[in-house]
Symmetry: C2
Subunit: 265 residues, 2 copies
DNA sequence: CGAACATTTGAAGCGCGTCAAAGCCGGTGG
DNA sequence: CCACCGGCTTTGACGCGCTTCAAATGTTCG
């Protein structure tokens, strides 16, 4: 399902192009900024732990990671997935401590970008800065949707909505088609992300399969009729703000919204 | 409680001062930017509806509002509360359509600030810009906490955590003490915010009362022992990223900062 | 080929939802 | 000042979705 390994700059550009078409100069600037060593974290290893001071900004190049929080008694909630092209903790520098952890779900390749480098990129190429701001706003919007997903939807709708979201996000970076995608999550991961137990996830997946809405085996998710899955899940994709190109407002804001805002203290 | 109503600039300054102490010049700049007509929305009226293009930025001056989303079949989820001093939709200008609605829960007084004015303020006073960014990051962090709240906590913990969060946020702008605060929400509001039904909220409130953790009547919430409520709810305040001052556990403000106590307005 | 982990199945129980009706309270008008 | 009304709170009976506990059955990979 993947072509051959795209690099860091390629993944970021693919992602940001969902917000605005980038010029060759802008892409070159991204490439220059991201000419950094690619690190890797092995599956099931934590990249950042709650309570630690935030390090540099991360860009996922390949693999899946997640943000998660834990309660004192061990209950664990995955609060979001990090997919290739995602930039995380855009300007957490303003905060003293991480309020959640980041864990690798598969083998993950990523780069660490310094704040100042990102800031320079944003200042010199305002539309790139806007695109990065857009990504953060989408993260926020997605977090609101997750709140509703867990608060209001039943088990089948929760799982179906999650499959739809992941499909669209992966399609946005060329890693999925409407018919399916590589799916590395375990049922326990799905349980932690949806606020269900893995036992109930298992039973609900069987309902989804019986209804012909998905097939999931050997780490591949197939969606025979994507529209049907959306309907069954009451999923609507607007919160991802993917079709923004040329329809958005605020074209001429220089340097993102808070030009000074990305600076550390 | 408030002898005379604090104005828009006062509320914003109080809020931002949780991030950084502001200089007289910075405060003057905020006042100049916020010298705007105060509008008001009546209780239970929507200020912005999902799907509409974002208008200007809002600053809540007094009263409570909420962000909420609805499913096609009418299920409703409150995804966050907007309290005095909160700035909402900081830079939604980059997005074409609102992905959620904003509704007034009480009579609300607010000002609408143009993006350009906010941007100028941020440019000329970088620390104010940082403080505004800080507010947005805290909003994001809070949204993650809500995801965990609904996904992992039981009914009692959900309500208790919500009471704790509101207490700290209101204290941060001088509208609460650890002993309690004016509480305008109905049990239906609480249900929509916690992903429960109002019937179950009612029963859970009775448990909280029976355990001596809260008393809630005639729109006033009292918390006899704030630390006990935090413990019972597995609440930890780090995600709010407030400067750790006197609001932490085991510390009762004698008489409180507000000698009038919880006198209604 | 066996250890570790992931998926699947079964049985039993509880938390929370649903439905419905009864109090309660503040506000409004006669 | 009382009568009434609408919204909020409270209560009861009942049922279901999801959890819990436990064990069996794949599946992956050294």
């Amino acid at each position: 399902m993947q072509d051959e390994d795209p690099g860091a700059a390629e993944m970021l550009a693919r992602h940001l192009e969902n917000f605005a078409t980038l010029s060759p100069e802008e892409i070159a600037a991204i490439e220059a900024t991201l000419a950094l060593p690619v690190r890797s974290g092995s599956a099931r290893r934590d990249l950042i732990v709650e309570g630690a001071p935030p390090r540099a900004v991360f860009l996922i190049v390949s693999g899946w990671a997640c943000r998660f929080k834990t309660l004192e008694d061990g209950r664990r909630q995955i609060v979001g997935f990090l997919l290739p092209g995602d930039v995380c903790d855009l300007n957490n520098v303003l905060l003293a401590r991480m309020d959640h952890s980041i864990g690798a779900l598969t083998e993950v390749r990523y780069v660490e970008i310094s704040n100042t480098a990102l800031q320079r990129l944003s200042l010199e190429h305002p539309r790139v800065g806007q695109a990065l701001s857009w990504q953060m706003l989408v993260t926020l919007s997605t977090q609101r949707e997750w709140t509703m997903n867990i608060g209001q939807r039943n088990a089948l709708e929760r799982l179906g909505s999650l499959f739809c979201e992941l499909s669209l996000r992966l399609q946005a970076v060329g890693l999925a088609t409407p018919l399916g995608y590589d799916f590395p999550l375990t049922q326990t991961d799905l349980a932690d992300a949806t606020g269900l137990t893995s036992v109930h996830v298992n039973r609900t997946l069987q309902h989804l399969r019986a209804a012909g809405l998905i097939s999931l085996s050997s780490r591949v998710l197939r969606i025979p009729d994507y529209a049907a899955l959306e309907d069954a899940s009451l999923f609507t994709p607007e919160y991802l703000h993917l079709d923004q190109r040329d329809t958005r407002r605020g074209h001429n804001l220089p340097g993102g919204v808070f030009p000074g805002g990305l600076a550390g203290r």
